[in-house]
Symmetry: C2
Subunit: 388 residues, 2 copies
């Protein structure tokens, strides 16, 4: 029986360089990253058709190989990275090893599933609207959405360029930090400098009550490490997270439509209904709507600078709930996606790094606490995760 975390067909493997900081580690790559000589599937049966085979590995794949890690396979993704819950109506839905019978989260669903199952040590994902953060939370993994623009996107299927990032997963903080040092090209500091921890009350209020309760001890633990106490605050004005969520959707989807329209016009490809529907709505957005959304993004960015550039760390729930069960009808799936979007939009709009910590459970299922820092402070977040 095939491991449904990986794409159908023979497993695509490559040895790593003989030595290096990641020697001995295995990794999987979401099927959005190019591997030279093999089609990139992108989770949709009509994506590879008519495209030339990649001539070179994606930057992130090459980076891990050069550091000594071995490629153990390419993993299932939501169709062209559009989806946050992890189902795929063509390739199947990877299982959630940490919450049997539940969705794994997506769109980097197979990468998270393979790491959570212990099949690989680490895995590459992409995160435009939450695609590393969400499966990290639902599968109980360390996962990061780095600062936007920090990691080269060469050889990665673009979705929404002003949101697209490359992230990775690991089961333990030490492995996560080893990979982080390679991906960021920067040593992970041993020491964690004192800093205030901001608890975003408006973000917590969007989570289910048991999730809030499960995460508060983790917040205290982080605050203890940072040594300057916890300050309750809000990310936005009342209701502003909902505005940011909606406007993030407008910008991201309009960029996705621009990315995928030439292919859609030429091929009229097959999609699950919800994926096609969301693209169709994006097609009907007007320039005025998109311009309004961009002005809202500027407000969120100003807020991020004000909150974070003094060195504070911000804590929010990564997702508002634990892994939803398989088999939900589409309207319920849509409600889940919309609620998740509210929590993922802050880092998405502002480009700041966000790391999800797998240190809590609610109802027997994992739930992530996210730490957010100012742009460029990716290594600092990793250091905090490792020191906890």
């Amino acid at each position: 029986m095939r491991d449904e975390a990986f794409i159908p067909g023979p497993r695509l493997t490559l040895p790593g360089a003989g030595a290096g900081p990641l020697a001995g580690l295995s990794f999987a790559a979401k099927d959005l990253f190019d591997v030279a000589g093999h089609p990139t599937g992108a989770g949709n049966p009509d994506w590879p058709t008519g495209r030339p085979l990649p001539q070179r590995h994606a930057w992130a794949v090459q980076r891990l190989l050069d550091a000594g890690a071995a490629l153990a396979g390419k993993t299932v993704t939501c169709e062209v990275s559009l989806g946050i819950l992890g189902f795929n109506q063509f390739d199947g839905t990877p299982r959630n090893p940490a919450a049997p019978g539940c969705l794994p989260g997506g769109s980097s669903s197979g990468s998270a599933s393979a790491v959570a199952a212990g099949t690989v040590d680490t895995a590459l994902g992409t995160d435009s609207g939450g695609s590393v953060r969400v499966p990290s939370s639902l599968c109980g993994l360390y996962g990061i959405r780095p600062t936007h623009g920090r990691i080269p996107a060469d050889g990665m299927v673009a979705q929404a360029p002003s949101f697209d990032t490359t992230g990775w997963f690991a089961r333990d903080a030490a492995t996560f930090a080893r990979v982080a040092a390679v991906m960021l090209g920067e040593a992970i500091p041993e020491a964690v400098a004192p800093a205030p921890l901001l608890l975003a009350a408006d973000a917590f209020a969007l989570a289910d009550e048991p999730v809030q309760q499960a995460l508060l001890p983790v917040v205290e633990r982080v605050a203890g490490l940072l040594g300057k106490g916890t300050e309750r605050m809000t990310l936005g004005e009342p209701g502003e997270l909902a505005v940011w969520g909606a406007q993030r959707n407008v910008i991201q989807r309009s960029e996705a439509w621009a990315s995928f329209r030439p292919w859609i016009d030429a091929a009229n490809p097959r999609f699950a209904f919800n994926v096609a529907r969301n693209l169709a709505f994006a097609a009907s957005l007007t320039e005025a709507q998109i311009a309004l959304a961009r002005s809202v993004r500027e407000r969120a960015r100003a807020r991020a600078r004000l909150l974070l550039e003094g060195g504070a760390i911000l804590a929010i729930p990564t997702t508002p709930f634990t892994a939803p069960p398989l088999g939900l009808p589409l309207p319920e799936l849509d409600r889940c996606s919309e609620r998740i979007g509210l929590l993922c939009s802050f880092a998405g709009l502002t480009g700041v790094p966000q790391l999800s910590l797998p240190l809590a459970q609610a109802g027997g299922k994992p739930i992530g606490l996210s730490l957010i820092a100012a742009r460029g402070q990716d290594a600092r977040l990793v250091a905090i995760a490792r020191a906890l």
Copy 2:
């Protein structure tokens, strides 16, 4: 190599009754009609999942079997009958034997293809928005959209109940009339009574110039048979056909959304992009928009009564152009579908019967002239076709 007019898999065949008016004829059934004990595929891979197998044949299938015809297979259809050009991104696009390298028209694409190729003598189709009329025109066949409600729809996958009809195809008028007598349960009159022929100038003006030129001699031939000359008139006020086309889309799509929504909500099925997009737009229609469209339909119905209930026959081009080539990009396919919709909307909105005559060619490809009569005068249209 499989005959791409038929659905993939073993050919589903059934003998006809030993004797009867259709003894010796073979027929194919669009895969929207039930055959007892076999899944109805409806042109979409996720339609049959979880549905019980049909316990009995669809009314139309049983009717032809009882009359002595033998079932020779089930044919490819556009997904859940949504489509007018005949492509199917899952099952493939049946070829157009009369226009190689071109689309066959749809949604009864495989039925028309099999008849045009000579594989079967006749074939069942459905016509909600043009799904028998259009492939008749593009493949050079006799085909009818009967009076709405005339033929029982039992055992046929419903799309838009106030538009859905069951029709059939044949290569020659004699066979077409034999099948018609069985399907209508009414003898086809030998004599054709004198009647005025109305040439709808506004409908002709929507067709390409070579199509208009190709059809005018057929109009004259029909007028000669009817013996009361040709009267040039218009179906609507200036611009009204465009209004009818748009409002027909609103009503038909809103009914299709109501038909398919429970399945879509439960299964989030796979579709070609254009099919999902059109359903998604239907989902966003408001009650007020639908009510407005229904009031426009009343105006079209009043016009049909005024024009036709005195016994006149109306002539319009079945399609505004001959079969488009394969491989067009989606925006061009959409423009083709929209133009076709303008000509198909009159009978769709008003429920009158429309028969397409395969008596003309333009640029070496078939083009149909449609005759339209008052509700219930199906047999009269068939008699005219046979007498020409």
